[in-house]
Amino acid sequence: MAKKVTIDAKGVHYTPLNQQVRKAIADGAGEIVINNVLGQRFIGNGLRGDATIRVNGVAGGDLAMFMSGPTVIVHGNAEHAPGNTMDSGKVVIHGSAGDAVAHSMRGGKVFVRGDIGYRGGIHMKQYQAQRPILVVGGSAQTFLGEYMAGGLLIVLGLDGVMKAREIGSGIHGGEIVIRGDVDDACLASGAKKVPLTDEDRARIVPVLREFADDFGLDAEPLVKANYTRIVPASARPFAGKYTWE
């Protein structure tokens, strides 16, 4: 049985807090619970291994940035850019998150039960077996999947209207899957809608089940729902813009 460590973050600056987390992991902790988190940044930053970190409170910016392996579960909201340039592992946020969620993420999963802010999934990218996945339970805002270069981004819109406009602006890799229909006017140039094939659905179903499982939702309606799939119109959006001197 892996060791469980509890840390009280009340009034603690993020540097000593993250040092405590690192020490716990070095000492073999399998589960770390951090209570009273109030905006401390960089939790899970650059951590390797397979520990689980539970954050009780509001996680500060750049949660799990450069993380490679562990699981971070936030019972609360997160500020900007959770999953920033994350390599692998998993981030589960029970609340909502700020702008630039999963920025430049290259692998692993980020699940957000609530809403995310602007520029969600910006420049997510994939390479060989590394394929990042961002799933949002609520709504996303404008410039969703901006500059996206790879991976899978799913927005379920469980809590009402999707607010995103300029979806997939400059997208040149990966796929954005949105539950329900998406108005053409919400798509940015460089993005195009395509039907979700059975093959596509088979690919996203395990992700949907895992998401439902993490948040105690009924997976069946999600599995059966109607989805819009948005993909790049071209892998080279800059082509045709330049000429040589």
């Binding site: 410039f143 500059y147 300029e166 602006s169 940015a188 460089g190 000429t243």
Partner: protein
Amino acid sequence: MSSNFGSMPLRYRISIDRKQCMECGRCIDNCSYGVFRRDGDRILINSRKCTACHRCLTYCPRDAIMLEEQPCDYRSHPVWTRAVRESIYNQSRTGKIILAGMGSVSNLPIIFDHLMLDACQVTTPPTDPLREPVELRTYLGKKPSRLDFKQKANGDVELSTELAPNLMVETPILLGHMSFGAISLNAHISMARAAQETGTYMGTGEGGLHPGLYPYQDRMIVQIASGRFGVNIDYLERGAAIELKLGQGAKPGIGGHLPGEKVSADVSKTRMIPEGSDAISPAPHHDIYGIEDLPQLVRSVREATGGKKPIFAKIAAVNNNAENVVAVARSGVDAIAIDGFRGGTGAAPRVFRDHVGIPIEVAIATADKELRKQGLRNEVSLIACGSIRESADVMKSIALGADAVYIATAALAAMGCRVCGNCYQGLCPWGIATQRQDLVDRLNPDVASKQVANLIHAWTLEITELMGAAGINSIESLRGNRDRLRGYMLDEGLLNILDVKSVGA
């Protein structure tokens, strides 16, 4: 009585690499100036007739032709330059005013080249125009300075300010006025199509509107100049806007003259003057002898066209530019084009072209400043013209205070013009500045319109990149934003006039 000058040194020397030449004769066919002729199986050259238009080089299938400028040296002298001496020889031979084509050739520093643009680094992020909007859409015309609202019965407020008619352009680059007569119908059609394709407008110049341009009339700004050539109510009603030409940067203070040789049957019809007669535009409009007469003309045009069309005025940039601009702004026009001293022309006296007027950079800066000072900036849009050479010039013009620019020489170059400056000869081998049908036919509007559209498109892309790099996503945020310019090696006096800080400041 002839002069004792004899043969003057050649301006250009054309040579043919005889090992490459296959005597196909394309150079002979293409050169409308008569540089080449065939003598048996040999092609002879008369370099004296060459204008450096490059037409022969372009069409030589073997790259056999070479052109050399100023092949003969004069004794070098920093004061008695070649140009000065040649002018003296010319005038002492002829006793006349020297005419010249295209814009100023004086080697004065170009202020644009001493203005550096800004970009974001860490305190603000740049915007990537590929993925986030950068708006270049520009409305030209009168804007309200403030808005009025009225309360509706249900408590909602409703705008009660009426908006004056504005021209909407998708890019702040318009094609400037060059008359049919000065340039060919195919050149006009090419530019009109390009304007349509790129969502902008072109000026007719003062030559009237040829029926061949009627399909594009929604993209035309029709001009009323002092000669009133081609002006009637039909002409005014066809245009999207109407421009009163009050002056021209290449020749401020003087009128124009289209020689009878260029008044072909077609030109005669559109200008509404007899074929072969000189078309003379007086220096002033003879119904404007005082500034209070200008509003009369503006109102008259507005009455005639039902107030539906924006009215522009174009003036040359001279010493009291700021005063001229506010005077014109008060006349009720919707936009003012200011033509700097480097502005182009089909023909202008050399002494005017090279010595009269002020640079467009200064003219725009002082105009914008004075209009703001007098609370008139929203009364008029400002269009900068007079050698806008590249997208950076457009950016800098707007940052100095312009709403948009007119390009003309650049548009001609986009159609093939090599800026040889011999427009006044009427023999343009590119089919641009000529009315000779065989030459006009050389300019294919399908091809040339695409080239002009490409140029506007490319500059537009560059402007969006420059704006994005500066963290600016709408053109009105660039307008008059002199904070985003820095002067490099400009003197303090000029920096103050431009209201631009030095690099490093």
